[in-house]
Symmetry: C2
Subunit: 129 residues, 2 copies
């Protein structure tokens, strides 16, 4: 790996930046083929770039603007933690969700991603179907 290879924290930030502008094609480039992605119920766990996209794309469809504000970050090897405030502009205004994201980066790709948040906090503010 060359000395200019991005750090695990840089990989995660690049992924979140692409997600912020809902550039799914760019975002999934940062995911390992067998990556595991877990959310609280009822979403659960999916695998691989296509699985991740199948969760994210319909969920973010009603958003007009997204901001993933990174409040705190710590890393240990390929492990990256983010305390985030996710902000989404919907038709009727901004909604906010406090989240912690746990990521593991292996060979420059995200192999594990789990978001911890209170599902009711976001679902109660989200447009239905």
């Amino acid at each position: 790996m060359s000395s200019t290879a991005p750090s695990p924290a840089q990989v995660v930030r690049a992924f979140m930046k692409a997600m912020e502008r809902l550039d799914y094609d760019a975002a999934v480039q940062h995911l390992a083929p067998a990556c595991e992605y877990t959310n609280p119920p009822p979403i659960g766990t999916v695998h691989g770039p296509a699985g991740v996209r199948a969760v994210l794309e319909p969920f973010f469809a009603p958003t007009l603007e997204n901001e993933f504000r990174i409040l705190r970050e710590a890393t240990d090897g390929g492990l990256v933690f983010h305390e985030r405030l996710d902000r989404h502009r919907l038709k009727d205004g901004w909604v906010e969700l406090p989240v912690t994201g746990v990521y593991e980066v292996v060979d420059g790709k995200i192999a594990y991603w789990r978001d911890y948040f209170d599902a009711q906090t976001i679902l109660s503010q989200w447009p239905r179907g």
Copy 2:
């Protein structure tokens, strides 16, 4: 500070160990006087050792055994992240809650603690009243 002062990660682990055995007197020794402690709704934010105890003590009253399993940990200065699986033995068996804890340790005491989890996951399994 002497060279034997515990690291921020050690402070947080000692706090969680005391909480595991519900030794509140020992646990709150690790908290700063003005510490801020936040949970998802409906719990919200409390301050200070007495505030923390007022949240934890009634909540854990129905537990017969507690295990805070640390799955992943990363630190940056006084900042400590834990990905945890909290396990609680109630009268009718074990319940589990996936949690991320974010802590800031200042001068050997926890000044900030925020737990991220899905409230419904635990409340739906918890004894009422």
